[in-house]
Each structure stands twice: as structure tokens, then as C-alpha cells.
């Protein structure tokens, strides 16, 4: 649904901006893993596409609020960073398929890089409510780009931090730290959100341990609702065939081992409808 929300609070945390937006209707429907799209630029803007942002936090205040956490990348997020309390904000959501959560109280490692960590906190709350054990691995390029360390420490059994420049926690990437966390916590499942490279590495680790991994992918999106076909990536279906599927509606959460990370940004020759070969598989 589309809602003209109102900015309630803005804050800056290290390299991140956070906006809490009163968005009744969206807030109560949001499940962990959902995202929203935000119109940027105001009236007469030259920016045509909405920006996709994960929902970090949902609260029932004022009829329902969502918190969005983001870094400034280009003009759209720059505009968002300039919003002030009481400004209107046009949201569509909740969008995408949320995280599947285990029925049993299993041990889960939640792996987040950069702003990708944001989407893991509502998930952690849900898992904890079901009696799961939750451990965090959070990383970023530098200390100011690791999101949510404090909150992770509060809710999780253990929190492992990594930075590529070594300015906080272990030097390296989240996937480097992951094996020992999985081993130590005897994890049953991994959830990960971050850049595509990170997801590939995390998936490789989880597969080595032979435990399921859910990844949240991020592809450039023009619509977020499944109608523009711009956000596709090659994913292997139940039937073993590869299809170019839309991250916005068929994802953004996928089972890691089904995503053909090496082939993202290409049309694999054996994908359904690929030039030449793939078409034959079609039904």
C-alpha cells in the first residue's frame, strides 16, 4: 500500500542516517525482511524512481512507525538525509517476501554488513520470541560503518564485529569470522544481509557447515512491486532449473545455495530463456 507518512525523528549514527516515520498501515503489516520504497526529491523532482530501504524497526506508536537506516550514496539518499521531523514522506510497502523463521527454537547466526545489518534486528526479535538462540556477526569497511553493535550486544548471546581496516573488532570480513561463530554456537541456520560479495562468501561458509542460509539480496530496483523486471538475478528453482527471478517480489530473501552468485549480472547459458540454449527448457 501507499502511505504519505510523517517523519517523527531523525538521527545520525556513525556513517548512518536513521529516520523514524509514522506510517500506519505499513507498520502493522511489516514482517522481518520486508522493505519499503520511498519517493525522493519532493514535488517537481527530476528523480523518478523510488528508493528501496529495509525496515529496521517497527513500533506501534502514533498508529505505527517504521525506522529506516541508510547511508548516503547519491542524490536520493542525500535528499532523505536532509529530511526533518514533521516532513512528509511517501512510502510504498511493505514489499518483498519476509524471512522464513524456523518453527523450532534453533540456534541462528545473523550476519550483517554495512546497512544490511539493519534488517536483522526485527528478525532477531522474532527469533528470540520463539526461543531461538541468536548470535550476531556484524561488519563494515571501518568502525563507523558497522551498524547496530550496541543493540546486538544487548539482544544476542554473542556479537562478533569485523572491519576491513581493523578499526573495530577483527580485521577482515564477516565471512572470515563466521566459521568460528558457527562452530562455537553450533548454529543450525544462518541469515545474512549485505553486499552481494558478502552474501556469496557467507553462503559458501554455511554450505561448508551444511546448514541452511537465508540471504537478502539487493538489486537495483525501479519499481519494487514486480512490474518492471529490472531487479532480476539467476536463481535455481525447486525443479533444478535456473530462472531470472525478480528480487523485489520473489525475494529479496532467498536460500543462499539457490542464488547463482557467480552469475549475477549475467544470463547463465542454462537459464530458462537464455539466448541460444535455455529456451528449450521452457514449458
Amino acid at each position: 500500500m501507499q502511505v504519505t507518512g510523517t517523519v517523527l525523528t531523525t538521527r545520525r549514527v556513525d556513517a548512518f542516517h536513521a529516520l523514524t516515520v509514522v506510517a500506519p498501515g505499513i507498520a502493522e503489516r511489516t514482517r522481518p525482511g520486508h522493505f519499503v520504497t520511498v519517493a525522493v526529491g519532493g514535488p517537481s523532482t527530476s528523480m523518478l524512481t523510488r528508493r528501496a530501504l529495509f525496515v529496521h524497526d517497527v513500533k506501534p506508536d502514533y498508529g505505527g512507525t517504521v525506522e529506516l537506516v541508510f547511508t548516503v550514496r547519491g542524490p536520493g539518499t542525500r535528499w532523505l538525509a536532509d529530511r526533518r521531523a514533521r516532513d512528509p514522506l511517501d512510502l510504498v510497502g511493505p514489499l518483498g517476501r519476509p524471512f522464513p523463521v524456523p518453527r523450532d527454537p534453533v540456534a541462528c547466526v545473523l550476519v550483517g554488513a554495512e546497512y544490511g545489518s539493519a534488517v536483522l534486528f526485527p528478525l532477531a526479535d522474532t527469533l528470540l520470541a520463539r526461543g531461538c538462540r541468536v548470535d550476531f556477526v556484524l561488519g563494515g569497511a571501518g568502525a563507523e560503518r558497522v551498524f547496530g553493535a550496541m543493540r546486538a550486544r544487548r539482544v544476542a548471546q554473542t556479537t562478533t564485529l569485523t572491519t576491513e581496516d581493523g578499526s573495530l573488532g577483527l580485521r577482515g570480513r564477516v565471512a572470515d569470522a563466521l566459521p568460528s561463530v558457527i562452530a562455537d554456537t553450533r548454529a543450525d541456520a544462518v541469515y545474512a544481509c549485505g553486499p552481494m560479495d558478502t552474501l556469496r562468501e557467507v553462503t559458501a561458509v554455511a554450505m561448508k557447515f551444511d546448514i541452511p542460509v537465508q540471504v537478502v539480496v539487493e538489486e537495483a530496483m525501479a519499481c519494487g512491486v514486480g512490474i518492471c523486471m529490472t531487479c532480476v538475478l539467476p536463481v535455481i528453482g525447486e525443479d533444478g532449473t535456473t530462472r531470472m527471478v525478480r528480487a523485489c517480489v520473489e525475494g529479496p530473501v532467498f536460500r543462499g545455495e539457490r542464488v547463482r552468485f557467480e552469475d549475477v549480472g549475467t544470463i547463465p547459458f542454462d537459464a530458462i530463456g537464455a539466448p541460444g540454449g535455455g529456451a528449450r527448457h521452457a514449458g
Binding site: 519517493a39 537495483a220 535455455g278
Partner: protein, 322 residues
């Protein structure tokens, strides 16, 4: 008094002139989560091809000033799955559907037309001529009257007479009227314009084309002036031919521009990506604008900007005039 918004595409009556643009409304199911598709003049499908197509690699889109570049490459399920799954879904619900078809050869368009002849629920067939002609070094059919006409003639000859054939033209030509005329002479019952002009963007950080496909189609408000001009020129030359105006429509006022230029229906594409309710909003705004200007029927506004100067009163500008 509400404005009579009915319009005709050849003999087919549409309850409202606001349609989706081909390839911008998914299979219909996605938008149906937001509003009742019966409220559209018609849903235009993505261009369907014979075989399933995986489309182009990503990145497939990038934003430009008031525009969007896309290179999706007609990703789709192919005609068989389309008929079975998508068209059936639409037909069962009685949603007015214009099926867009795309091909690499005249033979492929003909084959698609044959598959559609007996399919239920086809209100009209739109022929997307902006497809590379595999038999002519990949040049698009729409670039030249002869190639376009050949496709239109073959589709027209195959489809039942009561299914209008709409030829969809591209603006990347020196003379849109010549291509339009060739299509009408070849039997097109209506014309749709414009498809995306070819554009390109370079990522100044990676120093490479922003799209994997290098070039892509430009859409959105940036191209509205091109669409208005094409509709104007073609209506001027071929006033009797029903035109669907497409290109950059974000608001009722944009739609009204195309209608005054000569379009009897308006397609909404990129605006749907920003606002899934765009078609309904635009229809409402259009009706309000027509009403505020004293129109009782949409049909009276079609092509009205062509009348000789001095033949109508000037409506004064006022703060908050819609």
C-alpha cells in the same frame, strides 16, 4: 456532471482512455494487489515472444534526469506460458486486455498472431515494432516504413477482423508520419506512440556504461515533449486514425496534452513504477481537468489543439486552477 470518458480504439469501446503501457504493468497480478484492474481502460501486456526469454543481464536500469533508462530485453515466459497462465488469468476475470507482441522476424510476428487468433480475452493486439529485425542487421522494424508495414500487414491478415491491430512506433526516425502512414496503409487500425527513444548513460565512477546492455530505452517525463510532438504530427497527417499516446505521462495534465494533440487513449508506463495507483489517479485528474474546462465528453477534447487559432476562449490563469 461527470465527464463521459468513453473512447474508441477502432470499433472497440473502452470505458476510460487510461491504459497501462506495454511492459510496465507486469502480468496484471502484481498491480491487482493495489487496485481493481477493471478500472483500467485496458491492460496492455508486456510484449510476448514465441520462446521464453531471459532478457538482458543486469544492471537493466538507471535513472536519468526526469527519465529512466531500461534494457530489460523483453524478458518473458514465451507465448505458450503466456496464454496458459497470464492471459487466462486476465480473461477469467474479464479484464480488458491488449496483447503486445514482439518478434525478430516477420515470421515470428505472424506465428504470434496465429497463436492469438483463437485465444479468449484479446481486446486488441499491439505490435511492438521496436524489436531488432534479425534479418536486417538487427535494425528495429520501427525505423522504416517498409519493414514496419510488412509486419503489420502480416499480423493484420492473420487476426480476426474484429480484433484491432495497433502498430507501436518509435520516435527514433526522421519522419514519424511516413512510418505511421505505411502502417495504416498496411492495415493498422490504430497507432500507439511512442516507444522508448534509445539512450545511454555512463557511470562516472566505474567509467563504464551504466547498463549491461550499453544502450537502453529512455522513458518518463523527459520524453513527454517527444510523445506530444509525434502524436501531434501523426494526427495532423492522419486525423481519422485512433492514436494511443504514450510517453512520460505522470499526471492528468500530461495525459490531457496527448489528448489535445490527437490521442484518444493514453498509456501510462514509468509512472506506474513510482506509483502503482498511477492509472487511477491520472484518470481522475484528467476527468477533473476536462470538467473544469467545460468538457462533457472526452471525445470532444481529442485533437482540439489543432483547431485554428482564435477559435476558442482563453481560460484565465488563476492560483490553484487545476
Amino acid at each position: 456532471m461527470p465527464v463521459d470518458m468513453r473512447t474508441f480504439l477502432a470499433h472497440v469501446e473502452l470505458a476510460t482512455p487510461v491504459l497501462t503501457a506495454a511492459g510496465c504493468a507486469g502480468s496484471g497480478r502484481e498491480l491487482a494487489q493495489f487496485f481493481d484492474l477493471h478500472r483500467l481502460g485496458a491492460l496492455v501486456t508486456p510484449s510476448v515472444t514465441m520462446a521464453p526469454r531471459a532478457g538482458r543481464p543486469t544492471p537493466r536500469m538507471t535513472e536519468t534526469p526526469s527519465g529512466l533508462l531500461n534494457a530489460v530485453g523483453l524478458q518473458g515466459p514465451g507465448i505458450d506460458a503466456f496464454l496458459e497462465r497470464d492471459l487466462t488469468w486476465l480473461a477469467q476475470r474479464g479484464i480488458r486486455t491488449i496483447v503486445s507482441i514482439g518478434g525478430g522476424t516477420v515470421a515470428e510476428y505472424s506465428a504470434l498472431a496465429r497463436r492469438l487468433t483463437d485465444a479468449p480475452g484479446v481486446t486488441a493486439v499491439e505490435v511492438n515494432l521496436a524489436c531488432p529485425n534479425l534479418e536486417d542487421r538487427g535494425r528495429v522494424f520501427a525505423r522504416e516504413g517498409g519493414a514496419a508495414a510488412e509486419v503489420v500487414a502480416s499480423v493484420r491478415s492473420i487476426l480476426r477482423g474484429d480484433v484491432p491491430v495497433i502498430a507501436k512506433l518509435s520516435p527514433d526516425v526522421a519522419d514519424i508520419v511516413a512510418v505511421a502512414r505505411a502502417c495504416v496503409d498496411a492495415g493498422a487500425d490504430a497507432l500507439c506512440m511512442i516507444n522508448n527513444p534509445l539512450g545511454m548513460s555512463i557511470d562516472t565512477l566505474t567509467l563504464r556504461p551504466a547498463l549491461a546492455a550499453v544502450t537502453g530505452g529512455l522513458s518518463g517525463p523527459a520524453i513527454l515533449p517527444l510523445a506530444v510532438r509525434c502524436v501531434w504530427q501523426v494526427h495532423e497527417a492522419l486525423p481519422g486514425v485512433p492514436l494511443i499516446g504514450v510517453g512520460g505521462v505522470l499526471s492528468g495534465s500530461d495525459a490531457l496534452q496527448l489528448i489535445l494533440a490527437g490521442a484518444c487513449a493514453v498509456g501510462v508506463g514509468t509512472a506506474l513504477f513510482h506509483d502503482p495507483y498511477a492509472c487511477l489517479r491520472i484518470e481522475r485528474e484528467l476527468e477533473d481537468l476536462l470538467q473544469a474546462r467545460g468538457f462533457q465528453r472526452l471525445a470532444d477534447a481529442v485533437g482540439l489543439a489543432h483547431r485554428p487559432p482564435g477559435s476558442s476562449p482563453r481560460i484565465p490563469l488563476e492560483e490553484n486552477t487545476p
